[in-house]
Structure formats: structure tokens, C-alpha cells
Amino acid sequence: MTVDSERTITLTVNGVPREATVPVRRLLSDALRHDLGLTGTHVGCEHGVCGACTVLVDGAPVRSCLMLAVQVDGHEVKTVEGLATDDNRGGQVLHPVQEAFRECHALQCGFCTPGFLMTISAGLEGRDSSAELTEEEVDDMVGGNLCRCTGYANIKKAVHHAAEAMKEAR
């Protein structure tokens, strides 16, 4: 074990092994955006309140501005760029929550959107899709992220829409 100012980290991002050499103080949000070129994750406050920077670390939603890049060495990270899946024909299949956001007009400027998509997708995937979605579950999925444009009404609608789609897809 060494005490370092810089580290080389290896991690899996959206299923792809990646490597980066970063100063140890590099925030995970900045490492994703600038060292790994994945600018879909946005930075709204850098004090953990707005949730725009939310990504999944080992499947759980976390604020990437409240983690150091060196802390995900050896871990799995998923960002908004990894939400859609390959259709094996050169195209992409959107995640139900992405479809739902477009269908329900749940985004306007789009800046907070990746944080919501990651939090909601993890929430929907982590529950029994055959069960009726409760308001409490919706609150847990949208209650910790700030949006200045939409007033949240359509975001909540999109959660219901996506849950319904995932129920039907079973």
C-alpha cells in the first residue's frame, strides 16, 4: 500500500473495461467526463444536493461528485451512455425510462435528465415489475434530484409510464 498523489485506475464503465491515470483528488464526476470522455453525466452543484451527477456504482445510484475517481478502481460504473442497449444490428434500444421521458415530455433543457434516468432506472429494475407502483416508490425515485424546468409533474408521469412498459414486457 502506497500513499500517492496520482493513481492509475481500472474499472468497467458501461460494460467496457477502461483505464485512466488520475490525480487522487479527481472527483468521479470529472473523471467520467474529462478523463473518460463520457460527458452525459452532468455537474450541477458539486455538493451532493442536486443529483444531476448521479451514476450507478456496482448497480446502486450514487452522486459521482461525492466520490473520488480512485474509489471506483476495480468497480463497475454505469452512466447514461450505458442505459440503452445494443440491438445487435448497429442500432440502440432505449431503456423504457428513456422512452418514457420522451413520451411524457419529462425533460426540457435536459441538464438534470441523466441523473434522473440513472436513479429511476435503478429503482425500476430493482423492484418487482408485476407489483403496482406506489407513490412512495415514485417519491424515492424522483425525490432526491433537482429540476428547475419541468416542475416534476411529467417526470413522475414518466416513472409510471416506464413501470407500466416494464410490466407489460415481462
Binding site: 460527458t39 452543484c45 455538493h47 435536459g110 441523466p114 433537482l146 429540476c147 416542475g151
Partner: protein, 807 residues
Amino acid sequence: MTTKLFGEPVRRREDARLIIGRGRYLDDIGSGALAAAFVRSPHAHARITDIDVEGALDVEGLIAIYTYEDLAGPMAEPLPILIPHPQLHAPRTGYSLANGIVNHVGEPIVMVVATDRYIAEDACDRIAITYEELPVVVGVDAAREAAHWVHEDIPDNIGAIHHQETGDVEAALAASKNTLSFTQYIERSACIPMEGKGVHARWDADDASLRVYTSTQASTSVRAAIAAKLELSLDKVEVIAPDVGGGFGVKIVHPWPEELLVPLAAINLGREVKWTEDRREHFISSAHERQQRQEITVGYDDDGRLTALDVHVWHDHGAYTPYGIIVPINTATQLLGPYDIPVYRARINSVYTNTVIVTPYRGAGRPQGCYAMERTLDRIADALGLDRFVVRERNLIQPDQFPYDWGLTFQDGRPLIYDSGDYPGLLAKLKTLADWDGFEARRAEAATRGKLLGIGMAPYVEGTGPGPYEGGHVQVLGSGKVLVSTGLTSQGQGHETVFAQIVASELGVSIEDVEVHTGDTRRFAYAVGTFASRAAVMSGNAVALAAQGVREKALRIAADVLEASPDDLEIDEGLIQVKGVPGTSIPLRTVAVLSNPLRYAFDEAAKQATQFAKAGADDTAPVAEGDAPGLEHTDYYSPVRSTFASGAHAVEVEIDPATWEIEIAKYSVVHDCGTVVNPMIVEGQVHGGVAQGVGGALYERMAYDADGQLQNASFMDFLMPYASEVPDIAIDHQETRSPLNPLGIKGAGEAGVIPGTAAIASAIEDAVGRRIASMPISPTELYDLVRNPDSEMTATAGRRAGTGVTS
């Protein structure tokens, strides 16, 4: 005009890239750029006696340090006054980097450029600045009292006195049956978009040209400002607004110091330079809005009809006045609302304080005006024992009174004339939607649960779509793609979709073929900007006119080819055909090819247009006189004056009398923005506006201490609503077309926020029976109000309690 898509809730085109994380916001651009950071003043008012950069010089990765000493020519002059006005008698602006004096916490003093932002901040930390602190002025009252000045040569702190009147208000008051006077306050909030400001600049030395990306609401004007300040020819500067993560008004101010300094550094260093504002910077060096002290005297008869209104406002505009007195003018003119007011006087003293500048925030002075008017009507209702809704109804401008000329001047310099509206209709819809008349039963039910329920309402009128103009360019390419450009900008309003709907409807093409670009001076160089709910009105109409021009030319060319009259032709799904004669048709994209007579063919389609391809008359020129090659058209929409949207909100609040927590139990909106292009997008704008209205009424307040320190410069303590704080909203619509523009559109962007504070204040007052004269209000403040034996009880509460207190 085909209206297939016009008026439809078409799903947004911009979403495709945004939902997969492929938006290009400012900080996503220029990964190889150097990073700028700033040393900003920690003091609200001070002289700078020394700047010592020695300690920063050995930070590895430091590239350059700039102070005021490094600025020359126009850059060494103060920032421009964007909107001068004869009543702005003592305007002041700051310098791009402080010139010896700082007037608010956050004012930039030193710019550091380094290899990355982390290192730039390290260097900033090592720069030692010595200050001589000066007395600090915070808040309208301190500014009024003028025990201290903000600017030495403006000892009374008054930057402007905005004065408009329609008659002799003092005489009218004297002749009024009843009068009442009161004073109330409304406090500062701010736009706080999720993405702060940002600037990226690249200088091409070979070409001597500058490209600037900036998260702005006004690219064309930023371009002009940069060219002027950096002494570049306009044609050597391009400014592009990339994807912008919200604006709400703060990004209309320009040029921000950073918009000049980052390009200056890029030119100076021959490298790309980028600055991305962080959240703390945004709180202390962008803009705020809303603080006013309002002194109101009103005359009224026994039926509650207004006879005279005299408003004297003290408006806090912060340390500088780059945006002139637009916000005070909006307060003065929009205060009038939908009411028929015989005599009116507004005097607004706009004063300096040692705080962040005040420039438009969604509503831009209108929420304050609505608050003044509606709370006045609440007091009249209270004094007379009348239903608050009835008092509004009795004062409304009637549908047959349009156009209603106030004899005042609006923020666009034009006469304040309401063009169309149906205010009685609006209120009738609201009464039904909100079930106003059924409220007392709900109040009684809440009481059985130990809760205090109150209801309030507030209508508003909003001047939208001010000029001077916007333009649109529409071009059909040989591929069939339709390119649409307009110079104003987008921050989430769905312009790429709305303008595509308009053009697709006009041209008869599939919306999938239409691509819209906004805010890019390379594509469209003449524009004003996105503000005052004007984009749909201005650019919507401009692109419609441009599309009409394209349609006319296309039909003319097609008529020639099909040997028909243009009047017999129609366009549907990109195919021009003779009405009722399928088979006699030509694709629009082929017409586009033919519109450009070619010597050289470079692909199959182009072959059709070459000089030997079609038989043409030998005595006519390939390009007729007055015509031009290509299937494109540019047109402009310039309104004679603004068009007036309107609406009304009703709110029910439920208050826990043990903890004084305030919950919104019901929120109803009726909304009129004339012809609606995309109802889904309009509703989204209303939702967002209401959330900001709720935030401004119950949660958001800029908390400055007496030393001018902003105590809540973070999301932890500046409380913007999460989903849990925003109520569900019921919305109904009304459409009174605007007679001023071909599409009949009125603006919709700001509507949701305008009456929030007024309606919520009224509801809380109704619930607790105590006069609310300061907003926003939090539970701790409500507790203080209610337990204070000196706080005023409303007469209504007295009547309800049977005490017979009348005032």
C-alpha cells in the same frame, strides 16, 4: 396553411440526443482547452490596495494570470449599459476585472488560466489581495436611508426613478369614497438554472478569427459585444449557444466579464480556453431578482371598484445596472393586470446595494407587480367584507374594451396597449376549475382534522413578444432536408420542435425532414434574444413567413414544370401535386435542385438542373431578375408592439397550527397564450413556472447578512423545491388569438411563475387570519407572525370569529 402539426403535442426532436447523454452543453465542449478560474471578492464593499500573485507563480500547470492592469482599450472600460433609459439618471456598471474597488461579494478581480480547473483554483488560493473595507449597504431599506453609499458619487444610492402616470392620482384619491394605504415587501430569489454559465473560446491565428461558445440567451449580441470590446471586426467573430441547461433570464445579461476575458485569454495565449461556472460562483456572481419595498395607496368605492391607484416602489438593483430599468418598468406596467383602473401613478426608485446585480428572472418584475395589485384587491375585499373573487370580477377590463390603451409606455418602448383577451372568461373558468364556491366546506373539513385551510387567487396579464424583431431562414436542400435557422437561442423550450412544427405545417413536409438551428451567428446573424416569452411569437412568426416564401417560390417553379397554375398546386408529405390530379406531381426536393441552375452536375439529382437537362426558353435568363438561386427564403417578423397573454391561478394551502408548516393542497391554473403551437410544451412551461412560483413564495430567499455576505450560497441552504414540495396542478386553457401577428400567438414562457407569490400570500392570510405583508414566508416566520400580538388581524378573520373587528 396546413395545420396538421400546428397545435399538436408533437414529441420533441431535441430529446433524441438528450436522453442518451449526447447533449453538448458548454462544459462538454473543448476537452483540450485550458481552464480559467477567478479570484472573486470576499468583501461586499472594499478598495483593493494590493494584488500579490507571487505565491501562485510556482503552481505547476499555471499558464497565465490577468488583472485589470492587463486590460487595455475598450476592455479597460466599464461593461456596457445594455438598455439605457432617460430615467436611468445614474447608471453604473462594473469592469471585467475589478478596477481598484469591489462592490459585491463575488465580483471578479483576477483571472487565472491553468492546465485544468483544479490547478487554476490552487493558483487562485495563493493569490493574496489586500483590501480596505468600506461600509456596506444591504437591502432596500438601508439603500433608502443612505447612511452609506455604494458608489461614492451617488450618495442617495438612487440609480433611476421610473415614473409613469395616467392622470392626477392625488386628486383622484382625494375624490375617492374610500382609500387605504399599506406597505409590503417581496424578497430576492434567482433563476438558478441547473447549468451555470460557461464560455469556451478558440482563436484561429491563421485566419485571425474567433469562435466562442457561450451558455447564453443572446448569441448575436454577445458577438457584437466581444467584437467591440476586443476590437475585432464583427465578421471575425462567431458566437454559438450550444445546448444550454436552463436560463430563466440570467443568461440574457451580456457580456458577462467571463464572456470577454476568456476570449481575450484565448487570443493572448493562442490556445483554447474554457471557463465553467461552479455553483458557488453562480450564487455570488450571476444575478438575482425580486426584492422590492412597495408603498401602495388605493382609492375605491363601496362596491370595490378601483378609482385611483398610487404605487411607490423601492427596487433593489444590486451593485450595478447593466440591464437598465427593465425590471422596474415591468413592475410598473404589469402591475395593472386585467383591471380597468381610471387613474394610476407608478414611481419606482431603483437603488444600489452592495449585492449581486439584479436582472430579469422569469417574470422579470411582473411577479412583484402582480403581488402589489392582487394584495391591494385582497385588502379592499377585506375592508368591504366582499368575496375576493367578486372584487376581481367587478374591476375587469371587458372583452369589448380591446384594444385597451393605457397611455403608458411598455418595456419595448412602445405604447402599453392590451391587444386581446377575455378576462371574465378566464376567471369564470378558474372559479369552476378551483371550485372556489365550494371552499368553505373544505375549510370546515380540514378544521375537523385540526388543520387551517385557506384559499387565494390571482390573475395576471403578461406583455410578451416584444420586438424589435426576429428572423427566420428556411431552405430546402436537394436531399429533401429542410433547414430552419433563427438567431435567438434555446434553453429547453423545445424550439427545435415548435419551429419545425410551424415550418412543416406551412411547407407540407414531414416534420422528420425539418432540422432547426438556433443561437448560432454562423447560421443566422440578425437576432435579439430569448427573453420576455418572445420566442414562439417572434421566431415562430418569422420562420412561418420564411417558410411561406419558400412555399411560394416552390409552387412557382413547380407550376412551370407541371404546366399548371400555382393556385392549383398543393404540397403534402414533401410532394407538390395538382389538386385532385394524383400523378401530376414533383417532389419538393427536386424543385430544390431545379431552383439552382447548374453548369456542373455532381450527383444524379444535380444532373436534372444542369444547363442541357431541361428545355428552357432561349430568351430568358436562367436566374430571373430579382430572383435568386436555391429554394430558400429569409424573412423577419417585427411587431408593432407586444402582445398580451393572461391567466389566473388559485391556490389552497393547508397549515398545521402546531408546527406552522405550509402545504399546498390544491393548485389550479387557467392560462391564455393565444394560439398554441404545441400544447404539451406549453403545459410543460406552466408546470415549471408554477414550481418556481411555489419556490419563490415558500422556500427561496437570498439571505444576505449586514456585511453583504450571502449566507446561503449553496443548494443546501438556498432551498429550491424538490418534487416533494411541488403540488399537482390542474390546468385549463383559453385561447384569445393575438391580432398582432399572423399566427395569433402570445408568449407562454413566464406565465406559470407570475401570480404564485400573490395567490399563496392570499391563501395563507385566509387560513390564519393575519395580514401577510412580506413574502416569501416560512414556517418559522409564520409562527412569529401569528404569535405576535401586534400583527394585524384581517377584518375577515375578525368577522369569522364574530368579534366584529372591521379594520
